[in-house]
């Protein structure tokens, strides 16, 4: 496994598994990684490279856009406290006013597919899923990753040649990368 900071000159080896922050990062403006996320997405689309996503990515995207909507409704900053209790309290208002935000990532990936971009949902088979189940806890322990991040890494390791993420929590992998051919492309501003 290799850990590399992405630059536009780098070739992305497909299939490429996308972390949720890359998808959200291309849809939401003003953050410092927005142009990087957009340029990376353009590279993938122009090359018609195989893109992989997972239900874990979608789950994180839905939480992210719901939180943005909550912050917008309540005039809270983006780093405001966010919990399931808060979500349940504001759920109705969020969907009343910002349903388009919540469905944005799903709509984007469906449109990519309609435009001929090869995009697939993983895990693909039960055998591969069993490998993910075995790998995820070991990544949690070895790299002190959250369960969701460990599952992302395990899904990428078993299905992809490249894992694209903007999450610096994977920095721990750079120091002591496990065996395998996966390249982790880290998006930096």
């Amino acid at each position: 496994m290799k850990y590399v900071d992405w630059t536009p000159q780098l070739t992305v080896d497909p299939p490429a598994y996308l972390d949720a922050n890359v998808l959200v990062g291309a849809i939401v403006t003003t953050h410092r990684l927005y142009p990087t996320c957009v340029n990376l997405i353009a590279t993938l689309l122009m090359g018609k490279l195989r893109i992989l996503v997972s239900p874990v990515s979608l789950d994180e995207c839905l939480w992210a856009t719901a939180k943005l909507a909550y912050c917008q409704l309540t005039h809270n900053p983006p780093n405001a406290r966010w919990s399931k209790t808060i979500y349940l309290r504001w759920c109705e208002r969020i969907f009343q006013s910002y349903e388009g935000w919540i469905t944005a990532v799903g709509s984007m990936t469906k449109d990519w597919s309609s435009a001929g971009v090869p995009i697939e949902v993983i895990p693909k088979t039960e055998v591969l899923w069993e490998q993910v189940v075995d790998l995820a806890p070991s990544y949690m322990q070895e790299f002190k990753l959250s369960p969701a991040d460990a599952i992302h890494l395990a899904l990428a390791q078993t299905h992809a040649k490249t894992f694209i993420t903007a999450d610096s929590d994977f920095e721990a992998v750079r120091q002591n990368p496990p065996t395998g051919e996966l390249v982790i492309l880290h998006l930096v501003a």
Binding site: A20, N21, V24, G25, A26, I27, V28, T29, T30, H31, R32, L33, Y34, P35, V38, N39, I41, A42, L45, M46, E60, C61, W63, A64, T65, K67, L68, C71, P77, P78, N79, R81, W82, S83, K84, I86, Y87, W101, A104, S107, M108, D111, W112, S114, A115, G116, V117, S146, A148, A166, D167, S168
Partner: protein
């Protein structure tokens, strides 16, 4: 000033043939924001009235920092000046327009930056598992 805010402040026609006696004054209700539509209306009025010998006030030339009111990014995708700046300002759209098929380019620009962020936004603050 947009079309919505332009008002005919005073118009007093007397008889149908007394064209010279009609007094028309245009006055903006708010500061002119330099919308393209208003400038076009203004140009038409200016040239028509000048042609008939009405005295005209000096024209205000829009400043160089004004953004176009609307920009067509791709067929069917029209955004305002400020939105264009936020979503596409730092992106080399022309490069992508030439390298993508028209359908793919439209799909690409339709989705990027469709949710407005807030100043100081950090991705790690929002892509996070709730407590």
């Amino acid at each position: 000033m947009s079309i919505d805010t332009a008002t005919i402040q005073h118009m007093r026609p007397s008889k149908p043939r007394d064209v010279e006696e009609i007094s028309v004054t245009f006055q903006p209700q708010i500061e002119d924001t330099g919308s393209l539509a208003w400038r076009q209306i203004n140009d038409i009025l200016y040239s028509s009235l000048t042609e008939f010998g009405f005295p005209q006030p000096a024209q205000t030339v829009p400043g160089p920092l004004e953004l176009p009111a609307q920009t067509v990014v791709a067929p069917g995708i029209v955004v305002g000046g400020e939105e264009y700046k936020q979503r596409y300002g730092g992106i080399d759209l022309e490069q992508y327009r030439h390298q993508m098929s028209p359908e793919l380019f439209k799909t690409f620009v339709r989705h990027i930056g469709r949710i407005p962020g807030t100043p100081g936004l950090d991705l790690s603050d929002i892509v996070t598992t709730p407590e």
